[in-house]
Symmetry: C2
Subunit: 427 residues, 2 copies
Amino acid sequence: MTNQLTAAKEGIITQAMKVVARAESINVEDLRRSIADGKAVILANNRHKKFTPKGVGKGLSVKVNANIGTSPEMINVATELEKVQNAREAGADAIMDLSTGGNLNEIRKLIIDNANLPIGTVPIYQAVVETVKKRKTITKLDPDEFFDIIEKQGQDGVDFITVHCGVTQRSLERLKKQGRITDIVSRGGAFLTTWMIANKKENPLFEQYERLLKIAKKYDMTLSLGDGLRPGSIADATDRAQIEELITLGELAQEAINNGVQVMIEGPGHVPLNLIEANILLQKKLCNEAPFYVLGPIVTDIAPGYDHITSAIGGALAGYYGADFLCYVTPSEHLGLPSPQDVRDGVMVCKIAAHAADIARGNPKALKLDKTMSKFRKALDWNGQIKCAIDPSKITNFRQERKLKDDVCSMCGEYCAIKVVKDYFKK
Amino acid sequence: MTNQLTAAKEGIITQAMKVVARAESINVEDLRRSIADGKAVILANNRHKKFTPKGVGKGLSVKVNANIGTSPEMINVATELEKVQNAREAGADAIMDLSTGGNLNEIRKLIIDNANLPIGTVPIYQAVVETVKKRKTITKLDPDEFFDIIEKQGQDGVDFITVHCGVTQRSLERLKKQGRITDIVSRGGAFLTTWMIANKKENPLFEQYERLLKIAKKYDMTLSLGDGLRPGSIADATDRAQIEELITLGELAQEAINNGVQVMIEGPGHVPLNLIEANILLQKKLCNEAPFYVLGPIVTDIAPGYDHITSAIGGALAGYYGADFLCYVTPSEHLGLPSPQDVRDGVMVCKIAAHAADIARGNPKALKLDKTMSKFRKALDWNGQIKCAIDPSKITNFRQERKLKDDVCSMCGEYCAIKVVKDYFKK
C-alpha cells in the first residue's frame, strides 16, 4: 500500500501528489520535496476509496476543515449528512467527524462514503464513549481498547486523526503551576487528563507512541498532534503550559517523520491579534516547519454567536503568517452544536479567511481571481461578478429580491462613481 | 463658542474632554495633550445639542462609524431612522448621513436630532444633488454654493465632514500615469474629478482650503480629509496615486492644526493583509500621527454578501496597528443600499473588530471584559456570559430556541471538558 512520506523520501511521485499539484497549479517535484521534508502532507488513507486527496503545508493554498458530528443530546444521522453536503458545497477541504452520540462506527462510515473529501476524527471520543457505556467512567478507559479503535478507524479509511500525545505528566504539572482562567477546554485533553490523574499513569498516546506510529504508517493516516492544553481564553493565551506542550509535539513530529508517518501540529484556539504572529513563528521553529493546523484562532472571548467571524479574523492573520490549515468555527461555538446552516456559514467565512491569507501570501491563483472580479466590477458586469464570487447565491438572491436589472445598483444609483468618471479613464 | 483644539492648546480642559476621558477611564490631561498635538480629536460641533461627544485617536479605544442615508432610488425617512436606532443600539460611536435622495436638509436634521451621537456628512453629495436638480450636470457645480452648503451643515450641528481636498490636478495626473483596474471608486472623488476635468480647474476644496478651515473652525467641525483616490480593488492597493494623495493630506492636516481645526485622515478601502501594517505606519508618519479613519479595509474582492466580514478582518488588523476609527461595511456593500438589519449586523461585526484591536493594543477595559467573560464561561454561568457578551440576544435566543436550561450546552453534553476536569484544578 502507498505511503506518501516513504514514497516522497525515495523520490517517487505518487498519484495523489499529481492530483494535489495539478489542483494547486504547482510543481509536483517541489511538492514531493516538501512532503519528504515533513513540511507538507497529503491527507489520504491508503484504504480510503473515491475521494479527492488534499495537500496541506508548504507551497500550498491554505485549507479549511469543517467539524461535524452528533452529541449525546443530538443524534440525527440525516442532519449530519446534510452538514457534510453543506460543508462540501461551501468549499471545505476536509471534514472531521467528532460524533459522540449514536452508533459511532456507522455514522463515521456514512460520512466517509458521502464526503468525497479527506476525513479526520478524534479517536479518543469513541474510546471514551464506549468506556462510559461499558464501565460507567472515563477513568476505566483501557489503553489496548483505545489502540484497537485507532486501528479500526484506520481500516475504515480515516485520513487524519487528532491525537493529544503532548498531554503528559510533565505538561500537566506545568499547567497546574501556571494557573489559568479556563484550565483545559480541549475535550480530548480533558479526557486524558482525568484518566492520567485517576490512574497515576502517563498518557498512553505518549508512552506507546511507537505503537501509534505503527498503526498510522500502515494506513498512511496523518497524525494531527492535538493541543490538549490549548488555552480557552484570551487571558490564558500563549502561556507556559501551551508552549511546554508545543515543544513535546515538535519532538514527536520529528519522530513521526523519521518513522515514515506524516504529521501536522494543532494550535490554538483563543489568541489576541498581537500574539498570532509569535504563535505561528514559534510552531514553525519548534516543529521543523511541520504543517500547522489551527482552530480559529478567535481574537476575543465576548462574541458568542459571532465566533465564525472572530475566528475568521484570527484565521486570516494566522494563514498570512504561515498557518496551513484552518479549522472553522461556527456561529454556534460556545453555545451548542451547529446546525447545517451554521456549517455552511462557518465554512464560507473560513474560506474567505483562507483566501485572504492566500492573497497576502502572494498565491498567484488567488490574486488572479480577485483581479478578474475587480475587472467585472469596474465593467458593472454582474454575471461576471457572480462567476468570481465566493458565494454566487448572495449576489443573485440580493438582486432578485430587489428586482435589480442590468447594471443598476441601489447603493449609489445615478451617482455611481464608476459611471461618473468612466469617460475620463478610457484609454 | 468652544473650540476643542484651541482650548487644548491653551491648556484648558473642556466639558467634552471630561466626558470623553471619563467614558474611556483615561487621564484627561493626557487627552488634552493629544488633542493639542493633533493626535486625537473630539467630534463635537459647538452648535450640536444633546449628544454624547466622542474622542478619536491616540490613547483612546478604537471607534466605529455607521454610514446610513437615502439614495435616489430608496427614499424612506422612517427606514433611515430605524437604521439610526439599530446603529445606536449595536454600539456605533458615530453615524454618517450619506443621503442623496429626498429632502436632504430635513433628513439630516432628523438624523442629528435622533442619533444622540456625533454625526458626519459628505457635503459634496448635497452640492452635487442640488446642482443636478438645478442645472442637470455635475460639471456645473458652483464652488460658492458648495461652500454655502458646508456652512449650512456646520450651522445644523454636523460634527465632522468628509472633504476630498487631496484630489488635485497633480494627484489625478499621477493616477492616470499609474493605470488602475478600478480607477476611482470614491463618489466624492469621482464628482470632483469630473468637475475638475470638465472645467480645467483645481479642486475648490484644495484651492480654497483656508475658506474651508474658517468654516470648520467656526463650528468646531472636524475635517475628515477624504481619500478620493482610494483604490477599489486588491490589485490597485497602495499604489502611487494613493500615496501621492496621502502626502497632500498630511500637508493639509498640518495646516488645519496650525489654524485651530481638528482633523482626521481617511484611508482605504481594499487592502490585502500583507499591506495593512505599511498603510497604517505610512499614514502615521506622513500625517504627524493625526487620527486615522479607515473604510474597512476589506481584504479580498470576491466576497460580496460577506463584506462586513472581509472588513472586520482588515479593520481588526488596522486597529491593532494603530488605526483609530473604523467605518463599518455592511453585508450589502458592493450590492446595494443596506437594510436596517444590515446596519445592525455591520455595526456589531465592526465593534467586534474594534474590540479585538483594543485587546491587542492592551486596552485595560477591553482585557478586563474578556477575562470576566472567561470566568463566567469556566463557571458555566450563562447569565454572567450574557452580561459580558457583545450581543446578549445571540445567547438568549439560542438557548430559548433549544430550551436549554441551567449549565447545559448541546455541544459536548456530558463530555464537557470543563466539567470533566473541574475537580483536578480546584485550588
